[in-house]
């Protein structure tokens, strides 16, 4: 088992490469999900204030998007 972690003496290089990869990718996914949650909460607040207007925007969005 310890032989596996030593990686033939290249442990530092291999584990740092895999570590940076895992760290950046996980961090990016978490950041994306948190931003999405924040944005969705903000949107629901805005929609609660103006429920009638929301429907109108939805309708116009759908008609605009379909060319």
């Amino acid at each position: 088992m310890s032989e596996f972690f030593q990686m033939g003496g290249y442990a530092f290089y291999i584990w740092s490469a895999y570590g940076v990869t895992a760290g950046l990718l996980i961090g990016f996914v978490v950041w994306t999900l948190i931003s999405l949650k924040h944005a969705e909460r903000e949107l629901s607040v805005l929609e609660a204030i103006a429920p009638r207007r929301r429907q109108r925007i939805n309708a116009s969005e759908n008609s605009n998007a379909e060319p």
Partner: protein, 239 residues
């Protein structure tokens, strides 16, 4: 796919499958990459860095293709979802390019004896990174979303010239970087036992890319609706 509501439904259906396949490819890729694959006769165990480095570089270029294609589609057909896709792809590309550069540097030290060299391949990939960063900065520089969309689309399309430069940089110029080993899938110059973890990790990265793209497109659609709602509220407050 043209309409945002239909896109959301499609994304919702696809997400669990993408999570499953990302995890599956990751587990298999790590098992073969770190444990059940031979060491290189010259590079010894450092060859295992290839399984996180090469897929990152592939995906960095693929993400830029996505950016350039969505820019092109936006410029020609003015399709709003193309602009949303471009906005969503740019930070993903920046992450993959950063990973290719960082892991390449960590690989370069034990194999080439240097962390960095200003040769054609490394420099052109660094330019790719700046293209992604420039795309994000340019978008944030405009208040008018239509002008932002048009300018970033032009940048993305023009910057695509860098993709063949990256691809052929190892053949056109002298470089420390080795040429492609998997350019011909029928007869790659790489041991099948090394090709297996490489392709598994590439599949894992690809599924993760799709997953990130779907989530970031959802994020961008929500942000646009927030802006639209604030705009109509401001308009009705004035009236």
């Amino acid at each position: 796919m043209a309409n945002p509501a239909r896109f959301q439904r499609f994304a919702g259906w696809l997400t669990p499958w993408l999570i499953l396949s990302t995890m599956g490819f990751l587990a298999a890729g790590l098992y073969y990459g770190l444990y059940d694959s031979p060491i290189d006769y010259q590079q010894h165990d450092t060859v295992r860095i290839m399984y996180v480095h090469v897929p990152a570089a592939w995906l960095a270029m693929m993400t830029y293709s996505t950016l350039a294609i969505s820019g092109f589609v936006f410029l020609v057909w003015r399709h709003p979802l193309a602009d949303v896709a471009g906005t969503a792809a740019a930070p993903i590309g920046a992450i993959f390019t950063a990973l290719a550069l960082i892991t390449g540097s960590i690989w370069g030290q034990p194999t080439w004896g240097t962390w960095w060299v200003w040769d054609a391949r490394l420099t052109s990939v660094l330019i790719l990174f700046f293209l992604f960063i420039g795309y994000i900065a340019l978008r944030n520089a405009f208040d008018d979303p239509t002008r932002a969309a048009k300018s970033t689309a032009i940048l993305a399309v023009v910057g695509a010239i860098n993709l063949p430069i990256i691809k052929f940089s190892v053949e056109w110029w002298n470089t420390l970087h080795q040429p492609a080993s998997v350019s011909r899938l029928a007869n790659p110059s790489i041991d099948p036992a090394m090709l297996r973890p490489l392709l598994l990790m590439a599949a894992c990265y690809f599924c993760l890319f799709l997953l990130a793209l779907l989530f970031r497109m959802r994020l961008e659609l929500v942000r646009r609706r927030i802006i639209a709602l604030q705009f109509t509220r401001a308009g009705s407050a004035e009236a």
